[in-house]
Structures are given as C-alpha cells and as structure tokens.
Symmetry: D2
Subunit: 240 residues, 4 copies
C-alpha cells in the first residue's frame, strides 16, 4: 500500500492527465472555467453549469481595499515581502467572519434539519447563522440576489436554494428582523446545486477572492516602501 494516493492527476510518458483528461488538450481548448470545473468537480461542465459556475466565481472576485484580507496582503508587502507571502497572509485573514462561513452554510443546507428547527436552535445558542447577514448589506446582499436570479433563469434554483430562502423566511418570522442571505450563503447553495462536495466550497471562495488580493498586493508594491502601521491616536492603552 502506497503512502500517497490521489485521483486528481497522474503522468504517463511525462504527460500530465487531470481527472483523466490530457492537460495539453485542456491548454489547447483554452477553457479555464471548464478546466477548474473538471479539477474540482471531476467532470467537464454543461453550458449552463459553466455559466452558473462562472457567475459564482465573479461574485467573489473583489471586496474593496477596506476588508481584512486586502489589508493583510498590503501590510505584508509594505514590510518588504513578496507576492507569495502577501497572498498567504491575505488568505490567513479569511475566516468564519470574512468569507469562511460558506462551508458552515453548506452543512446547514445539506442537513435534514428543518428551517424552523435551525432557526430555533441558532437563536437559542446566540451564535451567528452562517450564510446570513452582512455588515454593509442590511436588507439584501445584491450579489446573492443576482446569483439566485441567474439560477432561476437557467435551472439551478433547486432544493438547496429553496432551503436557504426558507431559512431566511423562518428567521424573519422568529426574530421580526430581516437577515438577508449573504454571498457566502448564496455561493454555498448554488455550488451544492452544481454538485460540489461541501468540503471544497471554502477553497472555491478563497480562489475567487485571491484575484482581488493579487491586485491589492501589486498596487502596494508601487507604494512608498514605508511599512503600514497604526496611528497613535487610534490606540488606547488599557494596562497599568
């Protein structure tokens, strides 16, 4: 029994095959989206699957300079680090409160638990419900709305998308407060509709998000070369 096993790729006669497809054929085909789908989902996508998948990727491509992941990447560059360290640092600033709720949301959507039960359980635990609510988008997350609209048009508004909306309705009933499905929740629902394993979902989010981090890291390389630090007036010393 060998120590390392993989079904992702292998080499024959010094040629790489990815999920059974020759890598050079993929290069020839020049379809990055289909190649990603093959790599992560195991099959090439249909035209509609590709469109849905592509809309999902675009929805997470950039979040602004103000979010923690952008800031972390830029701080690493400002102290003299290279692109790979900057991206690693930015990715380490993604987490359950910033882009990392997608897997938790997927597990909720996949579970047998009914929307009302979920809402009751989470309200009593005082935890946050992964995939719902947003710092800026109080009433609705326009990115999530756009993705669900697309899903409806091309046939991906299935059981997971419906359950997400049922949880939202149950939340409103229980708390008399709107808590919109956020981009993490929408991505979770629609990536499940596309047949992805819940455990790869956070990876897909990070992938799309890294696009923005790359732009921020490069832009910071053009800055003055002074490291980023806090201003004294923003700090309160609370010790003795």
């Amino acid at each position: 029994m060998k120590k390392w096993k993989t079904a992702i790729s292998t080499r024959k006669n010094n040629e790489l095959f990815i999920r059974g497809v020759r890598h050079l054929d993929l290069v020839e085909r020049s379809d990055f989206i289909a190649s990603l789908f093959l790599l992560w989902r195991g099959t090439l996508p249909s035209a509609n699957e590709k469109t849905m998948f592509e809309a999902i990727l675009v929805s997470a491509i950039e979040h602004g300079i103000d979010v923690p992941s952008s800031v972390a990447s830029r701080i690493a560059v400002s102290t003299g680090n290279q692109m790979n360290s900057a991206l690693a640092s930015g990715i380490l600033a993604l987490g359950r409160r910033h882009g990392g709720a997608i897997e938790g949301a997927a597990l909720l959507l996949q579970s047998g638990e009914a929307p009302d039960e979920i809402v009751r359980r989470i309200i009593s635990s005082k935890e946050k419900i992964p995939g719902f609510g947003h710092r800026l988008y109080k009433e609705k997350d326009p990115r999530a709305e756009a993705l669900f609209l697309r899903a409806q048009k091309i046939g991906f508004f299935g059981v997971f998308a419906k359950k997400a909306h049922d949880i939202k309705t149950a939340l409103e009933r229980a708390s008399a407060k709107i808590l919109p499905i956020n981009i993490d929740g929408a991505m979770a629902a629609l990536l499940l509709e596309l047949g992805f394993d819940p455990r790869i979902l956070w990876g897909i989010f990070i992938f799309a998000r890294t696009a923005g981090l790359i732009a921020h890291a490069q832009e910071e390389l053009d800055e003055t070369g002074v490291y980023r630090h806090l201003d004294e007036e923003d700090i309160e010393y609370t010790g003795k």
Copy 2:
C-alpha cells in the same frame, strides 16, 4: 492626504465598482476571465487577448501530487488544519525554484540586455537562468510549446516571445546543451505580450496554481486523519 489609496475598486451607494465597472454588471455578464483581466490589467480583453490569457491560466492549473506545493498543502490538512491554512502553506512552498521564476524571467525579457550578454553573465555567475530548464522536461516543456504555438496563431508572438527564443538559442550556442524555455518563461513572455506589469506576474501564476492546491487539500480531507511524516528509513542522522 489619505493613508490608503487605491485605483482598484470603490463603492458608490453601497455598490462596488471594479476598475470603473459595476461589479453586479460583471456578475450579470458571467465572464470570469474578462473580470480577471479587468482587475489585473485595467481593461476588458479583446477576444484574442482572452483566448491567449485563458490558455496561459490553464497551463499552470495543476502540477501533480509530488511537487512541494501540493505536499505542503496536504501536510497542513493532515495535522488538522482548514482549507485557508492549507492553501497558505502550499503558496509558501512556491518560490524561485518552483513557480517563482516568472518575475525574474519577465525582467530578463524586458531588459535592454542582449541574449548573448545575458547568457554570458549568467553562465559566469553559475546561477540558474529564470524561465529556462526543468526537472522533468529535459528537451522541451510541452506546456510552453503549446502556449507559443497558440501565440503564433493569434498574434501574440511578439518581441518578448522572440527574445525568449533568442536566449534559448544563445544558451545552446554557449553551452552546447539544450535548456528549454519552461512554463515560467513562456508565461512571462506571453503575459508581457498581453501588457501585464511584471510585478503582477507571479500573482497570476500563483492564482492558477492554487486551483490544483484546492483539489489536493480537499482530497487530503478524505484521508485517514493521521498526520503525514517521514519514514525512518529515509532519514540519515549526520550529527554527533
């Protein structure tokens, strides 16, 4: 004067604009490749630019389980870490000897230095020449060949691609040994042809490469949950 400046994206009325284009319009358009091009290059691509760019991205999508970045990601998962830590760890195992020669190659191709001078200088310094040579592909790197072929067909075999080939010829003349243009060198040449800033090139490589790391991290999550370690018979103790 504000502390943080950016030309990448901004929000107006709680809507994000990326390089001047409304993010929701990009989601509606569902063109991930064009969105990446816009984000990193500042403009939307022409049809041929898009094809060339997409071929480049596909060429770096996966390298096999055996390379350092795949191994590092899987080790992090095997000790109980999550997707973001695994990807950060894999990215930290990319470097000038594994995927990180692209920026050095671009600087060579952009410099005014003639191919013969470059080869003379590097041979005398005993350093490696970034973008040339490969552990497995001794005579030619098929991925590089495929990209240059595509470039010729659709009009991107310009000064940088030519200079890469001139360096290769000069190397053969000087050392009587074939040292093929590798994938880093080909990507550098063709991303320069597409007008990208040399400083974002490594980011683009890392982006494409992360696709494979995500697949490896997920696959490792299905493993037995025993951490990866070296076998005793592979270790030699050389101390006292």
Copy 3:
C-alpha cells in the same frame, strides 16, 4: 472610543513599557524567561514558577526532522523561500493532531465535567481525547512524566494535574487500554497551574516548537537547492 485597545505595552517619551515594566529594564535584567512570563501572564514569576515554566518550554523545543512541521518548513526553504515564510509554513502544519491539542486539553481540565463523564462522552463520540495518546509513546510519554515529576517536587501538582491523571485512570478503567497523558496534556495541566489563560496555551506551545523549526530551516538552507518532492514509487494513482 478608540479603535484599538491594548493592555500589553505602551510608549512613554519614546520608551516602551511592557505590562507596566520598562523594556530597557528587562533588557538590563537579561532574563528572557521572566520577560516572557511577564508578557504572557502579566506578572514577573517567582523562582519556582520560573523553573516550572522553563521546564515546560524545554519539553517542546524540538520533535525531530520527521514530523509535519519540520518537513513543511524545509519544503518551503527548498523551493527558494526565506526564513519567515519557512517558519510560517511550519506553524501552519501544527494543528489539533500535531501540537494543537493543548487548548482542547486545557478546556477539559478546567471544565466542571467529572473524569468518568468525560471518558464516557468521548468514547461514545469516537473522537480523540485531546492531551492523551501518542504515535510513538504507547505506554507513557517521557516528557510528560518528567514535567509532572518536577511539578510534584516544586509544588505545582495541583487540581489540573490531578484531574489529568484521574482522566487517565478513568480511560484505563473504561477501555482496558493504556492511553498516556501526552506532552500536550501535561503542558496544558501545568500551564493552568501556573495561572495562564487557556487561550494563550497554544501560542506558548508554538513558541517553544518554533525553536526547532528555526534549526531545520537553517539546515535546509545548506542543502543542494533542489526542491523537495515525492518519489514516484510512493504514489498510487486511484483515478480513471
């Protein structure tokens, strides 16, 4: 209200004070252990606290070349990365299955749950019990034994150390199998005896462990400069 609050350190007249003590006085004093204790625990240690704390730190200083964290640091160096990336990568290969059980162990020891209940609950959940059992040390972890012996001699074998041993006894009773208190469990118990907050414990472990990673990263810098990769004969392709 200021955005950032801290009780750790502040500057007065351009001099740094750590937990109220002038940094230059600490440098003058040249007592690194006392300085760490001050920084992490908030007060300077007594002579016995210092001895106990120091024994704990020494116990985690190095684990061999074969463990995941050493391997990850060396892989990062082998691809051409610097010391900081290598250490970051090594630290990302610590986790609940390798050095990261210390916080979980501390929470068990601090909880009101009785040893028999803990054992019953964990056996029924089929999870691992954090702080107990080891890949190599099947009957007893000699590092843990040495720490507890020292604790007995100088007065730190209190409620947490006792509870750890009670859980071990309950485990043996329930499973008719020896599962020794491992180094994570012993560190957790004794750092709690010293009054540390459970949430800093993993940090203290990582700190001591980083010492070994630094030695491994430096040693790898002397290697041939060929990147680390898997051997073909260790890989099984399980795909199509």
Copy 4:
C-alpha cells in the same frame, strides 16, 4: 544515500537527542536559554554567552500594537482564525523593512568591505543600509545602546560590534546626518560575536518577536468578534 539528512536531532530507543544531548536531560536541567543555544549554535553556552544571548532575545520581545506584525496577527484573529494562523500571518508581516534587516546587516559586518566603501556604495545606490536608522529613534536606538553596553562589560564587543560603529561613523562623515545603529544592526553584530551562522539570525529575531505576537493574538481573542477593517475616511479612490 538517504533523502533527508540532519545533524539537529535523532531518536535512540525512542528517546530524542538534540545536538548529542538527551532531550530529557535538558528538561531536567530546565534551562531554556541554554537549550536554545545548543539547538541553534551546536554547543551549550558559557555563563557570559548565556547572559549576552539572553539580553539579545529580550531586546526584541515586543514592539507595540502599532507595528505591522502585531496588526496582521490581530486581523487574522478578528476574522475568526486560530492562534497558529495568527502567528503565521504576523510572521509574514516581518520583512526587510520590519525586523528582517538582520541578515543583510550580518553580511555587511562579515564582509571584507571597509566601512567607507560600504557607505559610498550604498549612498550611490540610494538603498537603505540594513541595520541602521529607525522610524522612531532618530538619534539613537536605546535597545541597541543597551546591548552594546552589556557587550562591553562582559567581553563581546569584538570585531563585528566595532565594524558596526565604524560604519556609523563613516555614515555621519559622508552624509552629515546621524543614522543610529538600530536593533537589527546590534543583534546582527552581537549574534555574530556569539558565533552564530548569519543564516539563522533572522530566525532568532523572529523567535523573540513571536513572543509579542502571541500576546497580541490572545488579547484580540477577547475582543468583540467584529473583523478589523479600514475606515472609509482613511481611503482615497484614485481610479476612474
């Protein structure tokens, strides 16, 4: 020939030996400083070596909440990440402009190049001279002064410390401006006096610095759980 070679540690009969010394003997001895010296330098230290080494470690233990490494660690925690990711992120925000000049400084001090030549070369290149100058300490870095004073008292003010001061004098002559030896420069000079390899110096700095990061990460865990982000009024959009 084995794939992995190490002179750092080995196991005999399931016991770990570090640089030839039994790990359990080190735990028994409870001397963390001597253990670090052994691990990184290969021998146990004399009493004076230990004092000098310990003063150096204390000098880098904490830098305040405002520096990039503290901020990066806290950002990672604020998004929901654990201690190991937070420390990795903080370490990735150390670099040649923040704690990473130590190796460059050591290479200058070890080189045969005379102080006047060094200053002439660096002034003409418009680069920064590693180990000299500081954002806050314009005239003298008190930590560096304290270390050199200690070195003079106990016999470690040798050729490297002298060369650092000669460079400082040459700098003042050439630029009519005071550029003090900073903490990186002082650590570099004195760790060379202690016989350390230049390539481990940055690791030693990072080690000491991690102490502070651990305190900041823990403190952030007590914060409100809202992720850290930039304020809108600190951002200027410079794009179209």
